[in-house]
Symmetry: C2
Subunit: 578 residues, 2 copies
């Protein structure tokens, strides 16, 4: 990927630069970290002139490696004030890679508010004024974009929440059939797009002349085939394919880490209605357009997404309904009906907000008494208010911390101003360590200890730092490659396969240690940006209520010592395993 595109939204100037030497070894999340550190003043206003919105291809974006259609989207996070990268599926990333584009860097803000579409094709890149898209919901936006720019385009776009620069806003990315709506959800990236007047990015790769310069095509294809075969042979893959991310819900409930009613309980009495097993069964029962086990990026062999249809199987409610969203919008709000949760999720997707952040914000609003726990219709109306930009909607659309502050609620599940996802850190302490220490703020994708439930006592404070560190390194590597976290199992047994992949694609001679160093470099670069931005982990401990309020039924509190967390990258960094 030989091209960097720079878009200045004030002068409307577009520059196409050859990828500088220094950037060649960076990709995805790591590339974003370096661009931020080199180009963006860490203390800048996140929706001001100096922040940048970055779309970065993963290191393996132009390879046949399965799941390598994940796009890294990033910038200085409006929500956390620190570095932010989101990995998102959809069908746009592969097209960007097909055009040989390593990164699109969107700079400055327009003098007066605008509504533009950034159009990226093989021939040209330009800002296309699109006042007709102003205020449009995500599905309407996508429809209008297809009408204007054709069926076979990749799309990123924002909803009204992003346009209003709400810090809970994300960036949507659909598949080519506009069924799956994936989200670069966390940290408020949609607000950055909104600040720059970028309602959408459309990518048309037809006529591209870019040919990925594989160093050793055969080696790459061999490694690619090994990965596909190994994944298909792995029982985890089948489980994910059948039940998707909700596969873990029943277990999360049984060990008592399922956030319920604003993180006041770890188990939910209506859990059977929202397990992965139940969802699959229900989707299959309804039939029609419903799907269990469908991909979110082209070429994925896992295919863990679903399509939840209405009870008649005729109309999509949402695709995909995932573990995080089910929990934050469901049990965390005391809501135990699948259709309600699917509709809540769909509403988040339509107005363009992170379902995790919004679910947490609604949970806090419920604790404040705005509506009652369990009030699904009330919750739907709250999300509609976000889309309309009412004052209450603006409060909620800025996330859980602002909602708690303005409504007078102290029990706010958030770290670095970002809502804690669907694993209560009291009952899964490895995740607590990740939430506190990750440069991303509270983010399960940065290092999810759920997989260690069998090997590591989740309630003990001992050993969690080592667990989190290993997982964070791994996540940072995968995010920099532009591949899904779910391809990890085969590599844990055969980490040396990474070396084949990089050799095949780039000709790099790497040891496993060198490969893992990509993850470490990413994290250390992000930490440096955050340090300069004033959002180092020592300033953002676990929420106080989680230190003192026992979580039923385990009655655990979070008790991993802060000193252990703040010093974790100073020593014992293991790089020779994946």
């Amino acid at each position: 990927m030989n091209t960097i595109i720079r878009v200045n939204t004030r002068t409307r100037e577009i520059k196409r630069e050859p990828t500088p030497k220094a950037m060649e070894r960076w990709g995805g999340r790591g590339l974003i970290a370096h661009i931020l550190l080199n180009e963006v003043p860490p203390t800048c206003h996140p929706v001001g002139r100096k922040n940048k919105l970055i779309f970065a291809s993963g290191l393996l974006a132009d390879t046949p490696i399965t799941t390598s259609g994940q796009m890294s989207v990033g910038g200085k996070s409006p929500l956390t004030g620190g570095v932010k990268e989101c990995n998102v599926g959809g069908f746009a990333a592969k097209r960007i890679a097909n055009l040989g584009i390593k990164a699109i860097i969107i700079e400055d803000v327009p003098k007066e508010p605008t509504t533009d579409v950034l159009v990226v094709t093989a021939e040209k890149v330009f800002l296309d004024p699109a006042p007709e898209l102003k205020g449009k919901l995500v599905s309407e936006t996508i429809q209008l974009l297809r009408k204007k720019y054709g069926k076979k385009i990749g799309i990123f776009c924002i909803g009204p929440a992003g346009e209003m620069m709400m810090y809970g806003a994300g960036i949507a990315s659909p598949d080519d059939n506009d069924v799956q709506i994936r989200y670069a959800a966390r940290g408020g990236l949609g607000a950055i797009a909104g600040s720059k007047g970028i309602k959408a990015v459309v990518v048309d790769d037809s006529g591209s002349t870019y040919k990925p310069p594989y160093y050793d095509r055969e080696l790459l294809q061999k490694a690619s085939k090994w990965l596909t075969d190994a994944l298909l042979a792995d029982p985890k893959t089948e489980n994910r394919h059948l039940y998707g991310t909700p596969a873990i819900l029943a277990l999360a409930n049984s060990v008592g880490l399922l956030p319920t009613r604003n993180f006041s309980q770890g188990q939910f009495e209506l859990v059977e209605n929202i397990t992965g097993e139940h969802i699959r069964e229900e989707i299959l029962r309804r039939g029609g357009i419903g799907k269990a086990g469908t991909p979110c990026v082209p070429g994925c062999v896992i295919q863990c997404s679903n399509v939840v249809p209405d009870p008649e199987g005729k109309k999509k409610i949402v695709a995909s309904v995932q573990y995080e969203n089910i929990v934050l919008l469901g049990s965390n709000c005391g809501i135990g009906n699948l259709d309600d949760i699917a509709e809540l999720n769909n509403l988040c997707n339509e107005v363009g907000v992170d379902a995790i952040e919004t679910g947490a914000a609604i949970g806090v609003a419920m604790e404040a008494g705005v509506i009652k726990f369990g009030d699904a219709e009330g919750a739907k109306n709250l999300i509609r208010e976000i889309g309309k930009g009412t004052y209450l909607g603006r409060i909620l659309g800025h996330g859980a911390v602002i909602t708690g502050r303005l409504l007078g609620v102290r029990r706010v599940p958030a770290i670095k101003n970002q809502a804690i996802p669907a694993y209560d850190p009291r009952a899964l302490k490895g995740n607590g360590v990740t939430y506190v220490s990750s440069p991303m703020g509270a983010d399960h994708t940065a290092g999810n200890a759920f997989e260690t439930l069998k090997t590591q006592d989740p309630l003990s404070p001992v050993g969690q730092v080592a667990v989190s560190k290993r997982l964070q390194l791994r996540a940072a590597l995968l995010d920099s490659c532009g591949v899904c976290l779910f391809i990890r199992p085969p590599f844990t047994k055969n980490p040396e396969k990474w070396c084949d992949i990089f050799k095949g694609r780039y000709g790099w001679d790497m040891t496993v240690r060198d490969v893992m160093s990509i993850g470490l470099d990413t994290i250390l670069t992000e930490r440096e940006f955050n340090k300069r931005a004033g959002v180092s982990e020592e300033f953002y401990p676990i929420p106080e209520f989680m230190e003192e309020e026992p979580l039923p039924p385990t009655n655990a509190v979070f008790d991993v010592p802060m000193e252990e967390i703040t010093t974790m990258w100073e020593k014992d960094v293991v790089l020779d395993q994946f």
Copy 2:
């Protein structure tokens, strides 16, 4: 002052401790800084269990030194996240000193919301449940307190904004006639009181047996008399007595530093209606209960406060209307009518919010189009909404930064999340340095360069750091003594008089350097707390628009280099002059 009172609002336990040796040399602002650094986790939730609300007597609180009835109120600021001390007049501080109390430290938060009055008398200190005060405006609260606890009590109390834990809430302190309502306004201290269920503190010093143990009564009295005489002989004192703080308004306008229409201009076309001269003239013309030149603390010889009556001179609109409030609620909102401004100020006092923060928030809301610039009735309604706790009211009641964020306005005049007061830093760059570097956030009282207009080019970036440093040291000393900033002129010529005062009161043998070290120790202690809290100045530069948007009519931008500001306390600290 030999006693420290500790109040635990969860256990309702009250402790009375002798002042520890280590605290003896600290007072007021300096004492608060040390208590915060020693006792409050810097990263704690500002309205959570670990923050403390501190009332600290100044070092000279129990002396006859004029103006020494200023109370220091502090805690970890909800608004800035860092150290916060407000100096406030009123008639309570002297009573606290008369009881020999060096500090009242209010700790923890109740398990369930309560409405309590902390009653402090010579015999006992106790928490008195007062559900009847819940939600009451400040004037109603004061009336009810007088009815229950007697006429001759000192009072601190909060309005509904503080009870709702709004980060723009302050703590009110009236005189004994309930005419002057003074405010520990900045940084959200009212929210801390609200979080602890403390609606009011009442102080009855009758029957006190405390006798201040003056080391050399005669020396102290001589110095006290010298100060009074020197102040009365100083032409600045007369000017302040006649025109109050608004005395400077015409000059501020003529040099173009008067914040106007959300800091978009430095001059206001309706300025003649709001100058100190006009206000005095109008008050005298109306007669009746109007007053120009009345004290805010007992024993003040400057008496710079006023009472603005209605046009018939019958009813108080507000007392006192001051420069800051006139500018933020007036010109900054495009409002140029004295009665409107007085009423806006009164409404802030009644609901219990900082008029500076609220004026700035309304200016931002006007820029967002919520109401038009100049809409005085609209502005009054916005403040009423704060008192009612509507969603818009909650947004505004949390200050300018939250208002800008939630309404999508980037031009927000604030540093460390606290609104910039009534001197645009582009046209008075010394104040810009203070705003950025003071541990208090944007706060003119921390080091106001307005007095240097004749000796220092306010538009030049050169030399401003030295100016600000000198002024900050001086302010920190005065704030630690519990005296008014306006007593400074005689000391600039005779700094050695400070030594007499401390010798007379405490028997300390001090040089001028030792005395100034009180200021330096205060600032360095505060900086250390802020560093640990993550709110050091390098993370909070001047608002970006002030670096790029020229301020008419001078067309200045703020251009003091940030490196100069962030390193200012590392060298060239001058301690041998006042």
